[in-house]
C-alpha cells in the first residue's frame, strides 16, 4: 500500500488530541483534552453520561466542531476537515442503518460514494467477517438488534478507516447479546488491526475489550491506563468507585518509609505499599477492593502481617460463586467483602467478625477528595 491514498490516509497514524475543548454556551463538555491513541489499539473512553466522551468522539468524526484545540491523525491536522473527508468512520449508537437500502447497499455505501466501481467482493468479504452474508438482500428493519449492530460495524469497517469510532455500540442490546458482541468486536479488531475508539458508560464492557481505558469525568480525563492498572491502582476516588467497587477508608499517615506507609484509621494501624500510595503525608484515603478482603470469626484466625478491622456483619448475600457481605464497622461505615465460595462457613448477619487483607493489596489516595465521587454514577450506569 502506498503511504498516502486518496483520502489522505497515512500509514502509522496515531490519533492525537491536543487541548481539545468543546463548550455549549456556558457548559464545558470537553475541557482541554490531551490524548494520544496509538495506531492499532483498542481504546475505550469510559465515563458516565454527560462526561464529554460522546462529544469527544463526535469531534474526532467531524460531526461536532471543537471550540478550541486540534485533532491530528498521524502528522496531519484534521481539525477543520469535513466529516466526509476524514479517514474516520463511526458505528452509531442506534446503528443509523439506511432504511431505504438493503443490507448489501448499506455496507457498500461508503465505497460507492468514494467512486469504487466494483464493490461486490469487498462487501461479501465484510458480510462474511460479521457472519451475515446470507442477509445481503434484507432490509435493515428485518434484522434483529444484534444483526443490525454487526451490519453497522461492517458498513464502517469496509472503508478501512484509520480510526473506527464506536459510540456505545452495544448499548441497545440485551446483556447476553452484549457479552457475545464484546467478544466478537475484540476478535474483529484483532483481525483487521485498526484503531478502535470505543465510547461507553459500561465499565465491564470497557475492561473486557480495551487495551487502554481513559476514564472521563466532567470533560477531563481522570486516569488513563490498561484495565488492570486502572483497577489495581486507581488514581482518584472517582476511578476507584466508578471502575468496580472499592472500600475507601479515610485515615491519617503516621509514618512513611520508602517501602511502607502506615496509616491510622478507626483506631487501628493499617499499612500499605508506598509504591501504591499517591499521598504519603497528612490525610489519605486507603482503598481496598472487596474481593481482596477476607473474614475471620476470631482475631486469632487472622494470619500475621494483615491489616485488620473489626465489625459486625450487617448483610449477607449468597450469590453461589461468592458470598457478598456488608460489614459494619464500629464507626458506622460499611465495608463490602466478596468471599469466594471455597466451602467456608457463611457468616450470618449480626455475627462479630474481623475483616483483613494483605497490605500489598491496598492502595492509597489523596485524602482531600470526595470519597463518594463516581459511586452513584456507577450504579446509574449499571442500571
Amino acid at each position: 500500500m502506498s503511504s498516502t491514498d486518496v483520502l489522505g490516509r497515512t500509514e502509522g497514524g496515531d490519533l492525537r488530541l491536543a487541548g481539545l475543548t468543546k463548550r455549549f454556551g456556558a457548559f464545558t463538555a470537553v475541557d482541554s483534552l490531551d490524548l494520544t491513541i496509538p495506531q492499532g489499539s483498542f481504546f475505550a473512553l469510559l465515563g458516565a453520561s454527560g462526561c464529554g466522551k460522546t462529544t469527544t468522539l463526535r469531534m474526532v468524526s467531524g460531526l461536532e466542531d471543537p471550540t478550541a484545540g486540534q485533532i491530528f491523525l498521524g502528522d496531519q491536522d484534521v481539525t477543520d476537515a469535513k466529516p466526509y473527508r476524514r479517514p474516520v468512520n463511526t458505528v452509531f449508537q442506534n446503528y443509523a442503518l439506511f432504511p431505504h437500502l438493503d443490507i448489501f447497499e448499506n455496507v457498500a455505501f461508503g465505497l460507492r460514494r468514494r467512486g469504487f466501481k466494483s464493490v461486490k467482493p469487498q462487501v461479501e468479504t465484510m458480510l462474511e467477517l460479521v457472519e451475515l452474508g446470507h442477509l445481503a438482500k434484507r432490509k435493515p428493519t428485518q434484522l434483529s438488534g444484534g444483526q443490525q449492530q454487526r451490519i453497522a460495524l461492517a458498513r464502517a469497517l469496509i472503508n478501512q478507516p484509520q480510526v473506527l469510532l464506536l459510540d456505545e455500540p452495544l448499548g441497545a442490546l440485551d446483556l447476553k447479546l452484549r457479552r457475545q458482541m464484546q467478544i466478537e468486536l475484540k476478535r474483529i479488531q484483532t483481525e483487521v488491526g485498526l484503531t478502535f475508539v470505543h465510547v461507553t458508560h459500561d465499565q465491564e464492557e470497557a475492561m473486557t475489550m480495551a487495551d487502554t481505558i481513559a476514564v472521563m469525568n466532567q470533560g477531563r480525563i481522570e486516569q488513563l491506563g490498561s484495565p488492570a492498572e486502572l483497577y489495581e491502582n486507581p488514581a482518584t476516588t472517582f476511578v476507584a468507585n466508578f471502575l468496580g467497587q472499592s472500600n475507601l477508608i479515610p485515615g491519617t499517615v503516621e509514618t512513611a518509609t520508602d517501602d511502607v506507609v502506615t496509616v491510622s484509621a478507626y483506631g487501628r494501624r493499617l499499612t500499605l505499599d508506598a509504591g501504591r500510595c499517591r499521598s504519603v503525608s497528612g490525610k489519605v484515603i486507603l482503598g481496598v477492593r472487596p474481593e481482596k478482603v477476607q473474614l475471620a470469626a476470631a482475631e486469632a484466625d487472622v494470619p500475621s502481617g494483615r491489616n485488620v478491622l473489626s465489625g459486625t456483619v450487617s448483610d449477607t448475600s449468597f450469590i453461589g460463586v461468592s458470598t457478598q457481605y456488608l460489614v459494619k464497622l464500629p464507626s458506622g461505615e460499611e465495608l463490602s467483602v466478596f468471599e469466594q465460595n471455597t466451602g467456608r462457613e457463611i457468616q450470618r448477619p449480626g455475627a462479630e467478625v474481623f475483616v483483613y487483607w494483605d497490605p500489598s493489596q491496598g492502595f492509597g489516595l489523596d485524602g482531600d477528595q470526595d470519597i463518594e465521587a463516581g459511586a452513584a454514577l456507577d450504579e446509574e450506569g449499571a442500571a
Binding site: 466529516p83 466526509y84 468512520n89 442506534n94 439506511f98 432504511p99 431505504h100 472503508n159
Partner: protein
C-alpha cells in the same frame, strides 16, 4: 366440519352457543362499515354512475335525457375543447412542479432547522387556509393589479418583457394571464404539498444524515442519497394532493385568467349551467378527466415505486 372442533374446545357455559357467536362476529365489521358504505354509495357511486350514464345520453331539459349509448358525445367532448385540456394539463403540471420546488425547501427547513419553532411555522403554513378559498384567490387580483407594486417592480426590471414573450404574462400586465392563474394555483395548493413533505422529512432520523456525512457524502450527496429517497413518500403524497385538485381547478383560471386561459372545469360548468342540452357532453368531459387523471396517477405511482418506501 368446524362443529367437531368447537366441541372439543369445550366452550365455557356463560358464552353464547358457537353458531350464534360466530354469526354475530361475522356481522360486526359490516355494521361498522355501514355508515361509511352508505355515504360512499350515495355521494360517490351514484353520482359517478349518473355521470357515466349521462355521458352516453342525448336530449335536452325540455324533452328530457334518454340513454341512447351516444358514444359520439365523447368526440364532441374532445374536439372543440382540446385547448382546455391542454391548459388544464399545463397549469396543473406547472403548479405541481412549482409547488414542489417551493414547498420542499420550506418543509426541509421547518423539519430540520425549525427546532422549537416547528409547530408555529407549520401553523403559519396552514393558517391562511382558514380564510375562504375564493377570498384568497380574489386577493391575488389586488396583489397582481396593474398599479400594484409587484407589477411595477416586474416592469422596472423588464421581467415582464421576457415573460410576455414566453406567453406567461400579457404585455405589461400580470393579471388575466396564464402566469397569474399558475400563481394563484401554486399559492392555493402549496400547503397540500408542504404538509406531507414535512411529515415525511420530519420522520427522518438526523443520525442517518450524520451517518451519510460520516460515509463520505457531502451535504448535497447526503440529501441526494438519503434525505430524498426517504422523503419520497412525502414527495409522492404531496404531488398527488396538489396535482389531482389542480387538474380539476377552474376558480383560479376564472378569476385570474383571461378568455384564452380556459380550462376544462370552466367548459364543464358552461355546459352544465348555461346550455340546455349540455349535460351529456359535459358528463363525457367529466368522465374523460376522471379516467385520464386516474390513469396518470396510477402510472405515476407505479413508476415511483411507493410500495418499497412505505
Amino acid at each position: 366440519m368446524s362443529t367437531s372442533l368447537l366441541d372439543k374446545a369445550d366452550p365455557p357455559a356463560q358464552q353464547a352457543p358457537p353458531e350464534e357467536r360466530r354469526q354475530r362476529r361475522n356481522l360486526t365489521p359490516w355494521v361498522l362499515l355501514l355508515p361509511g358504505l352508505l355515504w360512499l354509495v350515495l355521494f360517490f357511486l351514484v353520482p359517478i354512475l349518473t355521470s357515466v350514464s349521462a355521458s352516453v345520453q342525448t336530449g335536452n331539459f325540455d324533452d328530457g335525457f334518454k340513454l341512447t349509448w351516444h358514444w359520439a358525445n365523447f368526440v364532441d367532448a374532445v374536439k372543440p375543447y382540446w385547448r382546455q385540456y391542454l391548459h388544464s394539463g399545463i397549469f396543473s403540471v406547472a403548479t405541481t412542479v412549482l409547488c414542489l420546488a417551493l414547498g420542499y425547501p420550506v418543509a426541509y427547513f421547518i423539519a430540520f432547522k425549525g427546532g422549537k419553532w416547528k409547530s408555529l411555522l407549520m401553523a403559519l403554513v396552514i393558517v391562511p387556509s382558514f380564510t375562504s378559498f375564493l377570498i384568497r384567490t380574489i386577493a391575488w387580483k389586488t396583489i397582481l393589479a396593474d398599479n400594484g407594486s409587484v407589477v411595477r417592480v416586474l416592469n422596472d426590471l423588464h421581467i415582464l418583457t421576457v415573460t410576455s414573450k414566453l406567453g406567461i404574462t400579457v404585455g405589461t400586465h400580470v393579471l388575466a394571464s396564464p402566469g397569474a392563474v399558475v400563481c394563484g394555483m401554486v399559492y392555493n395548493f402549496l400547503p397540500f404539498m408542504i404538509l406531507p413533505l414535512y411529515t415525511s422529512l420530519e420522520k427522518i432520523d438526523p443520525r442517518l444524515l450524520e451517518a451519510g456525512n460520516d460515509l463520505y457524502c457531502s451535504t448535497f450527496q447526503t440529501w441526494r442519497r438519503i434525505t430524498l429517497p426517504l422523503s419520497m413518500p412525502g414527495v409522492i403524497g404531496g404531488t398527488l394532493l396538489t396535482f389531482i385538485p389542480a387538474v380539476g381547478d377552474y376558480v383560479n383560471a376564472q378569476l385570474l385568467g383571461n378568455a384564452s386561459t380556459g380550462v376544462v372545469g370552466q367548459s364543464i360548468e358552461n355546459l352544465f349551467l348555461r346550455k340546455t342540452d349540455g349535460y351529456p357532453v359535459g358528463s363525457a368531459m367529466s368522465v374523460i378527466m376522471m379516467v385520464g387523471t386516474l390513469v396518470l396517477v396510477m402510472m405515476y405511482i407505479r413508476k415511483a415505486g411507493t410500495e418499497d418506501l412505505i
